[in-house]
Amino acid sequence: MSEHVMSSKFYYTIWIALLGLTVVTAAVSFLDLGPFNVIVALVIATVKALLVVLFFMHVKYASEKLTKIVIVSAIFWLFLLLALSMADYATRLWS
């Protein structure tokens, strides 16, 4: 974790991007895109979360490898929880 002071302009840019994506996702929710409504909303949410994690939480420029492993593992555990649960519930009606 090295000292890495970003310019304030950099943070304002990320902030504007986050606000812009919020407006876009709210507006898109009124369009009927069928199954893509869920996909678009979750993709935009993930982009926003990545912007916060990488730049506001300094994971991109100033974090240890060990920290990155912890983050990736945490997301992987969450994926296991959601994917294996849905693999059960979503296939119960198959027969």
Partner: protein
């Protein structure tokens, strides 16, 4: 730094005696904080998982319940939280550069945004109370059944949507309240001059917590307010 490894030195909070150097101490704090956040991901993850399963089972009720939420207040609250994350990021930067007054102002601004979020959330909850959408004896969804005659709405299943809505937003709001209290302490110590460019770990760790709570909302917002809005 003395040459001797066993020399007794004066230690500030930036270097406790069981660490080799300040960088190792900061990395240890950061790793510990991220491990805590990993447990928080699983804590909220259980609720997200319950939400996914019940939405899959009771799709009509979840769509009707989601559409009854106030998308304007939800969007404004998302923007409020994003602004608070900006003040936190700028606050950590102020601490890195040793700007004490700016740090205090930014920490206090974060608290103001935190209260704004909780206030707007409170208004939304009060609206749900007036509509009898809070699960319990007075729960009533005749308004939704009338509004969507083309779909079948089972009040029991609708109650599950609102139970999850209040559990998830309530748990998130609890995290916000804890964050506001934490930032009140950070503001006080920052004002006292405890944080310097050499030692601002508490500001940084508090910031990580605040950003995490922001990310939880970034996912709650589309799942609760947006994905069933069309039709």
């Amino acid at each position: 730094m003395s040459d001797s490894p066993i020399a007794v030195e004066q230690h500030g909070p930036e270097l406790l005696h069981h660490f080799v150097d300040a960088e190792q101490q900061r990395d240890a704090a950061s790793l510990g904080m991220w491990l805590f956040l990993a447990t928080e991901i699983m804590f909220f993850g259980g609720m997200f998982c319950a939400y996914l399963i019940y939405r899959f089972w009771y799709y009509n009720e979840f769509a009707a319940g989601s559409r009854s939420l106030d998308i304007t207040l939800g969007t404004v609250n998302t923007a409020v939280l994003i602004c608070s994350s900006l003040t936190v990021a700028l606050g950590v930067r102020a601490a890195q550069m040793g700007k004490r007054k700016l740090l205090v102002v930014l920490l206090l601004l974060t608290i103001v945004f935190g209260f704004a979020f909780l206030g707007i959330k409170g208004v939304e909850w009060y609206n749900k109370y007036e509509e009898h959408h809070i699960p319990g004896p007075s729960f009533n969804v005749d308004d939704l059944i009338k509004a969507y005659p083309q779909i079948h709405i089972d009040p029991q299943h609708e109650q599950i949507f609102f139970s999850l809505y209040f559990a998830m937003t309530g748990l998130h709001a609890l995290h916000m309240i804890i964050g506001v209290v934490m930032f009140a302490f950070l503001s006080y110590y920052a004002w006292k001059g405890r944080y310097t460019p050499k030692y601002y770990t508490p500001v940084e760790m508090g910031g990580l917590y605040w950003h995490f709570v922001d990310i939880v909302w970034i996912y709650l917002f589309p799942l609760l307010y947006l994905i069933d809005r069309h039709h």
